[in-house]
């Protein structure tokens, strides 16, 4: 039997997807020109699928800090912090991120994925129980597999279901650890954190919230849905990423837990991988400073998201439950989603194609991410193109109209 024959189903599914036009897992930009524009297939395109929520990838202060650190500290750390040493800026960044969240301590990881992998697999021991939201990100599911705790999945955003599952554990030894998210990555809906925090308080548990998609986009100070929901004091650990709102790469965990630093010598995804390079650390420190001092970034991404969400909902699309920096269009079926995504790219608008089983409820989605850096003209053009393609494909049920000239001709000309 061929070594990769176990993936025959995947191969067939990929071939079917690619037959619809492009391979959605292999989109190759020839150039990324700014936080909102790139070049694809020889033509400029608008970026509405890069999670660049605050547009900081091209921020001058971040680039300057990063370039300076590259010159001063070299291209990489060539090893892990426990085996090969910590750089001064690793510690500075940990202090800054802890300070940003008003927590005592922080640990930084090389990616956000590893932050979840590290925290959950280390915190939850053999006799403990992890209770995770059903719509949790793959990194949370993978963290559960890496650890040795019992893993129980509760219905998405359903605090009542969580409470029932906690009640079933009564009398059992072990710590209960609840894991949920600030904003869920597929539909862009917020975690029901007030209700979940109330269950946590009432029944006794540790609460972990992943704010990967909500840091910088929600909360007065950009501290996410925990801040917006007024539950920060109930949350024992906030997990997040430097790769979205902060425009670089890396992950973090912040907490008030005494002896938090003990995790550094128990957490394998922290211990056995190379640490973040100086240039990345410096740009993240600069980006944190930007979001700490410029509230307009968060306001702009919220305003842009609201505009796109409302226009697409009013245009007749089935959208996610609320406006956030992720706006999902629910497609009637997988084939239509593939055609829609390809037609948008033909018209110079890059979004994400999200298909089952990566989506909740077996939905086929066009997933848009919105940035503070998107101009009004770019938002309006994306809306016009999506509505035109929606009509062309019969999703909106209106008279098909002539598709307008490619967005890039109108916006970038």
């Amino acid at each position: 039997m061929a070594l990769l024959s176990k993936f025959d189903d995947m191969r067939a599914a990929l071939q079917a997807l690619a037959a619809g036009g492009r391979n959605p897992f292999d989109v190759r930009f020839e150039k990324i020109s700014s936080a909102t524009e790139g070049v694809l297939e020889g033509r400029p395109c608008l970026l509405f699928g890069t999670n660049n929520y605050l547009g900081l990838t091209f921020d001058e202060s971040c680039i300057a800090a990063s370039a300076g650190a590259l010159r001063a500290g070299g291209t990489g750390t060539t090893g892990s912090r426990i085996a090969n040493g910590t750089y001064g800026d690793h510690v500075v960044l940990e202090h800054r991120i802890a300070e940003f969240y008003g927590k005592r301590a922080a640990m930084i990881f090389t990616t956000g994925y590893q932050a979840n992998l590290g925290l959950l697999s280390t915190l939850a021991g053999r006799d403990d129980q992890l209770l995770i939201d059903a719509d949790s990100h793959a990194s949370i599911y993978d963290a559960c597999k890496l650890g040795s705790a019992e893993v129980i999945r509760f219905r998405h955003n359903d605090a009542g279901d969580l409470a029932r599952r906690l009640a079933r554990l009564e009398g059992r030894p072990g710590n209960r650890i609840i894991v949920t998210e600030g904003i869920f990555s597929m539909l862009g809906d917020s975690g029901a954190l007030r209700e979940i925090a109330a269950v946590k308080r009432e029944m006794g548990a540790t609460l972990i919230v992943d704010e990967a998609h909500s840091m910088g986009t929600r909360g007065r100070r950009g501290r996410g849905v925990c801040e917006d929901s007024g539950v920060e004091s109930d949350v024992d650990f906030v997990v997040g990423t430097f790769s979205k709102s902060l425009g670089a790469i890396g992950g973090f965990v912040v907490s008030d837990l005494p002896d938090f630093d003990l995790l550094r010598i128990a957490c394998r995804p922290y211990m056995f991988t190379a640490s973040l390079p100086p240039a990345v650390v410096a740009s993240v420190i600069a980006a944190l400073s930007r979001i700490s001092t410029d509230a307009s970034l968060g306001e702009r991404v919220r305003s842009n998201s609201g505009k796109l969400y409302r226009a697409l909902a009013q245009g007749g699309f089935a959208v996610g439950p609320e406006p956030n920096a992720i706006v999902a269009l629910k497609m009637p079926d997988k084939e239509t989603a593939v055609r829609f995504w390809n037609r948008l790219l033909d018209q110079g608008v890059y979004t994400n194609l999200a298909l089952p089983p990566a989506t909740p409820g077996s939905l086929s989605l066009i997933r848009c991410s919105i940035s503070a850096a998107h101009s009004e003209a770019q938002i309006e053009s994306a809306i016009a193109t999506m509505i035109a393609v929606g009509r062309e494909l019969g999703i909106l049920g209106a008279e098909p109209k002539k598709t307008p000239a490619p967005v890039v001709d109108r916006v970038l000309a």
Binding site: A134, Y141, C144, E150, V151, I152, R153, R155, R165, R168, L169, P356, P357, T359, P360, G361, S362
Partner: protein
């Protein structure tokens, strides 16, 4: 009184009927993913129906061991027994 395996099987097959085409024949030997064409998330959502029906939680590591309807029913029976 604990649920018999037949009662559990009838309940599980009844819940599965909501998620597969009407003319699909489901028995204890039916493999939930490969025979019924459910993807991994759809299976987990079906498992939640089973958990609600029998008032128990089936840990994910236990779900991973289950391939057939019969194996799922046996897991439910064991967990119901353990809860007493």
């Amino acid at each position: 009184m604990s649920d018999s395996i037949d009662t559990i099987e009838a309940g599980v097959i009844g819940l599965l009927a909501h998620r597969v085409p009407a003319d699909t024949k489901v028995t204890a030997e039916t493999r939930i993913m490969s025979d019924l064409g459910l993807d991994s998330v759809a299976v987990l959502d079906f498992i939640q129906d089973v958990e609600d029906r029998f008032d128990l939680s089936i840990p994910l590591e236990r779900v991973a061991e289950v391939q057939t309807v019969g194996e799922l029913c046996a897991a439910v029976q064991t967990l119901k027994g353990a809860a007493r």
